[in-house]
Amino acid sequence: MMRLPSFRYVAPRTVEEAAKWMSGSPGEAMVLAGGTDLLPNMKRRQQTPSMLVALRHVDALRALRVGGGLSAGAGITLTELVRDARVRAMCPGLWQAAAQVATPQLRNMATLGGNLCLDTRCTYYDQTHEWRKAIGFCMKRDGETCWVATSSPKCLAVSSTDTAPMLQALGATVRLVSAAGERSVAVGDLYRNDGMEYLTRRADEILVDVRIPDQEGRRSAYWKLRRRGSFDFPVASAAVSARLEGDTVADVSIVLGAVASRPLASDKARRLLVGQRLTGEAIAAAADAAYEIAKPMDNTDFELVWRKRMVKTLVTCALRDVRGDDVGELRQRLARQTLQMIA
């Protein structure tokens, strides 16, 4: 890996000032939060912004408010999110998702906003400049072909964020601010199923906070598949948020991670479950429905047919978790940890 290329660095103290910098040189400036995604990418020349607008001194992005829902500044680190007992009590699924991102050291730097905007990943793309040169580059940067499927007209890089599927399932919205104004977007509308244009956020917009509606009466869970108990990005994941009345599903949202270029909600699984009791059969039917929409490609760790198959397992685990089953041993086996030690 090469060293960082040279770039201009600005460190504004307010969102307005940051937005001004972002609008000043459209396409040239990028936002720097924790840097755990962007800086390695810059070393590999996947991104070569001429200016980085650092957000670490913008105090407004570091607020965390709980009550009638949850509002989290985009600059909150994943460690801060995971250590907040209120977050864990209110949205266990979000806690589980954040707690399973990378490693403790990376979570100390990585932010919630950064994880939502995480660049899509691909084993043909997340490589050094020299390596990519050896394959004649790829569509996502400097080349024309998508080597994952050479006839594909679009890039098939994988959405690899853990928090986005969960926040989409929770019905969260994000606030985007630019010099021209601000807008709110549902997390489900923040993404496109395109490995290159995977965000609907404009290049001059800054994601400033995340708002989660009141979770009274709702339960959530996040199940992640990766090779090892730490470090790895998801190769498939399932986020479930549900409102149960007794043991009947009043409302549910099932969103898959890392099996497309964006988080994928399974409407069919939702339809199959709403109004039903969460029996083993109902869970299996929902898992089958979610399985249908998963489109893993050969560009992450693990073999793709098996990855797709594992979507059923993940959805099943997440629904059982929401149902209130004791899934500790299952979690220990699949995640190689119970997550309890992270708190």
């Binding site: 890996m1 020299e130 394959i135 090892r228 730490s230 047919v305 397992t313 086996r333």
Partner: protein, 826 residues
């Protein structure tokens, strides 16, 4: 000495270099910063196989801050670690052979400037056929990747037979015929290779490098740079992990040395992680076929093994690796007749070489999994089957390897007992299982790489009026604890404390030659040399003290930093006084010790690989938990027992055993050095799939099981204080034990590593479809084997020679220091 009660040997102690390592004071190669130092980066090939048509460095040379640009033109002389494979140049001259092969070097004021200048070098390539697999290389002899080798793109083919194996197999009650595959993997040391070269005050070249083998680097520098060896000093800095990956002389080492000579300024290079994957020299991918005949009561009648090694783009240790895939089968179990045929091919991938276990883990995997299948078919407990056929001590095997002490039966009994094997094997609920496997490894290669009569290890001691002792040895501390072993052996003999001994190691100017930290040779060879040097020093001192005190020399005891009368312990002197008495009597005190392994009885061509002064033995039981739906594998516990002979420092020994389990589980479950061939109609590209420490999967602490380690101690007369090796052997049983445990858990065979959940699911699906409940390679391709060398086993009156071997003309030169032929004879 060795039967005396010891005070330091056998005690679990903090290693002597522990303090420096945990406080950050250890100076690794990349920590070295010298005045006026320049920085080097290498331009590496972006094509897998091509002729270099043109290299234009003019723009790079003109770049501000650039001091020197080098290409293959500056390196006309080839080198390589084995005398039979001098096929490398520091920078490629006429062609490139894999993506990552170095073609040019830039030396500049800093690393960033050097990197900028690399982008200004224009290289024009004329593509050649891409060889992505051994099948490619066997199918197409032309164009050749190298202009040498046994045939086309075959680097090496060998065929050896010990006794009438065909008749023995034909006469067996059962014949087992299995094909296995072991995927390649790499060492993954935390420290990336780094080197600094400088010209010292009197004009001589000094190279500091993270190398396991300063002696071989020294030889290669002398040859390739045409510089007298006496004018080169190689200093092996402590390695941040080696595992065999720093045992070859490397391009970057020669490049910075040449640059320092040309510029008369210090030049440094530190490889990045991607480049470490390209240096590789790791585990060969090996396809193997075992045909084994057994009687109905489980005795092996004969074994017929074929191996096919994917060697990558250069020779490296590959000829030795090839022989090693067929060498050690016979030292664990009784195998009366044996045939081994091995073939290594060149492909356009980073070169494979020696990784922990060097060539033996792959075939050990097949052997131990097949034994599990044999036990199952015969209806015998696999532990009992092995106990019945364990090789007896002090025997010569069919292929003329000398087994001395063998603690394998005790190892098996120990792990069987510890794991509750008798109550649990084949009795656990579906999804849970136990697997057993065994192994053996050399305690040092019996023959040197450069065949000569010189000692393999030398130690010098300096004793002076301070009462301190300095021990000089060429051995290299790669994290395994060799400095600690050196100090402990000397301190034990002289009756002083480890802290009183200073180790000066791995410096070709200051220390006598030790061949290097490979083949698990250092404890045994350096240890014996250290004991000899220390005993000589002790004898000198004892004579002087005995005469001074007027007591018989036999009554003197060296202990607790004193030299005293065993019959009147109050009568004596301090160790420091004793040294002064001796120095006054005989003058400055320095002693030496050295070690040369015993001659091997194997005298056939190829018999140079496998002999060792003695062998270590290991048995392991692995418990697995396999989800029958997803194939997800968890390893909750591992029990392992290792025949160490004698543990010199049990803390270090246990560390090696646990580290081996860790590395073994990585190889068993996830690690693969694999490559992407882009669709040939669109591209010639052949690239490492993921040369990054994130995507090359190796276990984390969270993936590690509980390990129960037992050390089996039965001192071996060949070892220092009875010690055998521990650095490599305990790795070997882990992979087959995992495979055998998966079978016990779920009833399917995965006949290859890594064993991944998707392969288990595929095997379960095959089982459901009424096909064999197995995932693994289907067959072994045809290989043009050469005429087989026939060697009669010792019990049939064999003398260690092949009956049909052409008579070799003696080529030994008078000067034993000059390379005559290789220990690995081709």
């Amino acid at each position: 000495m060795s039967d005396r009660q010891t005070r330091i040997i056998g005690q679990a102690r903090r290693r002597v270099d522990g303090r420096a390592k945990v406080t950050g004071q250890t100076r690794f190669a990349d920590d070295i910063v010298l005045p006026r130092m320049l920085h080097c980066r290498l331009l590496r090939s972006t094509v897998p196989h091509a002729r270099i048509v043109r290299i234009d460095v003019s723009r790079a040379e003109a770049h501000p801050g650039v001091h020197l640009v080098l290409t293959g033109d500056s390196f006309p002389i080839s080198y390589g670690v084995l005398p039979v494979s001098h096929d490398e140049h520091a920078l490629c001259r006429d062609k490139v052979r894999f993506v990552g092969d170095p073609v040019a070097a830039v030396v500049a004021r800093d690393e960033a400037t050097a990197a900028e200048a690399l982008a200004l070098i224009d290289v024009e390539y004329e593509p050649l056929r891409t060889y992505a697999s051994p099948e490619d290389s066997l199918s197409f002899p032309e164009p050749r990747i190298h202009e040498y080798g046994d045939d086309g793109n075959i680097h090496k083919v060998v065929s050896l037979q010990f006794g009438d194996v065909d008749r023995a197999i034909a006469g067996a009650d059962h014949v087992f015929d299995d094909v296995f595959f072991f995927e390649g993997n790499t060492h993954l040391p935390l420290e990336q290779h780094a080197s600094v070269a400088a010209i010292d005050a009197d004009g001589k070249l000094v190279v500091w490098s993270s190398t396991q083998t300063p002696h071989y680097l020294h030889r290669s520098l002398a040859k390739a740079l045409e510089t007298p060896a006496a004018h080169i000093r190689v200093i092996a800095t402590p390695n941040g992990g080696g595992f065999g990956g720093k045992s070859d002389p490397f391009n970057h080492e020669l490049v910075v040395a040449k640059a320092a000579q040309m510029l008369d300024r210090p030049v440094k290079i530190c490889l990045n992680r991607e480049e470490v994957f390209y240096c590789h020299r790791g585990r060969h991918p090996v396809l193997m076929r075992y045909r084994t005949g057994v009687t109905k009561d489980g005795q092996i009648t004969g074994m017929d093994l074929q191996t096919l090694l994917d060697g990558g783009a250069y020779g490296s240790y590959g000829v030795a690796s090839t022989f090693y895939t067929g060498a050690l089968q016979t030292v664990t179990y009784q195998i009366p007749t044996y045939r081994f045929r091995g073939c290594r091919v060149f492909t356009n991938k980073p070169p494979c070489g020696p990784k922990r276990g060097h060539g033996t883990p792959q075939s050990r995997f097949g052997q131990e999994v097949q034994l599990d299948k044999i036990a199952e078919r015969l209806g015998v407990d696999p532990a009992d089957l092995r106990l019945k056929i364990v090789a007896p001590p002090d025997t010569l095997t069919a292929n003329f390897l000398q087994v001395r002490t063998i603690g394998l039966a005790r190892c098996i009994q120990t792990v069987v007992e510890r794991s509750g094997w008798r109550e649990r094997f084949r009795k656990l609920p579906r999804g849970r299982g136990l697997g057993l496997a065994c192994s053996s490894y050399l305690s040092g290669a019996g023959l040197p790489i450069n065949w000569n009569d010189l000692p393999h290890s030398g130690v010098q001691l300096k004793l002076d009026r301070s009462g301190g002792v300095t021990a000089f040895c060429g051995a290299t501390e790669i994290g395994q604890g060799s400095d600690d072993v050196l100090v402990a052996c000397v301190a034990e003999v002289l009756g002083i404390e480890p802290v009183d001994v200073r180790a000066v190691t791995g410096d070709t100017d200051l220390t006598p030659v030790d061949l290097g930290s490979y083949s698990s040779r250092v404890t045994l060879m350096m240890g014996n040399a250290a004991i000899q040097a220390a005993e000589r020093a002790r004898d000198l001192i004892a004579q002087a003290v005995a005469s001074k005190l007027g007591i018989p020399v036999e009554r003197l005891v060296f202990a607790e930093r004193r030299v005293f009368d065993s019959e009147d312990p109050g009568r004596g002197v301090t160790f420091q006084e004793a040294v002064c008495i001796a120095e006054a009597r005989v003058g400055t005190i320095g002693t030496t010790g050295s070690y040369t392994p015993p001659k091997s009885p194997a005298r056939f061509k190829g018999g140079g690989v496998g002999p060792s002064p003695t062998y270590s033995y290991t048995a392991a039981v692995v418990e697995v938990d396999v989800d029958p739906e997803s194939g997800w594998i968890t390893v909750p516990r591992v029990w392992i027992a290792h025949d160490i002979g004698r543990a010199l420092n049990p803390t270090l020994v246990r560390g090696q055993v646990e580290g081996s389990v860790y590395m073994g589980l990585g190889e068993a479950l996830m690690e693969e050095q694999v490559f992407r061939r882009l669709p040939p109609r669109l591209s010639n590209a052949l690239v490492h799939k993921f040369p990054s420490i994130l995507e090359y999967k190796s276990p984390t602490t969270l993936d590690m099981p509980e390990i129960v380690t037992d050390l089996i101690e039965d001192p071996d007369p060949a070892g220092p204080f009875g010690a055998k090796e521990v650095g490599q052997g305990p790795l070997l049983p882990i992979m087959p034990a995992v495979a055998n445990a998966v079978y016990d858990a779920i009833g399917v065979r995965v006949d290859e590593v890594p064993i991944t959940p998707d392969k288990i699911v595929r095997a379960l699906q095959a089982q459901k479809a009424g096909k064999p409940a197995r995932f693994g390679p289907a067959d072994f391709p045809p290989v043009p084997w050469p005429e087989t060398l026939h060697v009669t086993p010792p019990w049939e009156g064999g003398d260690g020679r092949a009956s049909n071997e052409p008579v070799r003309r003696p080529k030994r030169k008078a000067d034993a220091g000059v390379e005559a032929t290789a220990g690995v004879r081709s």
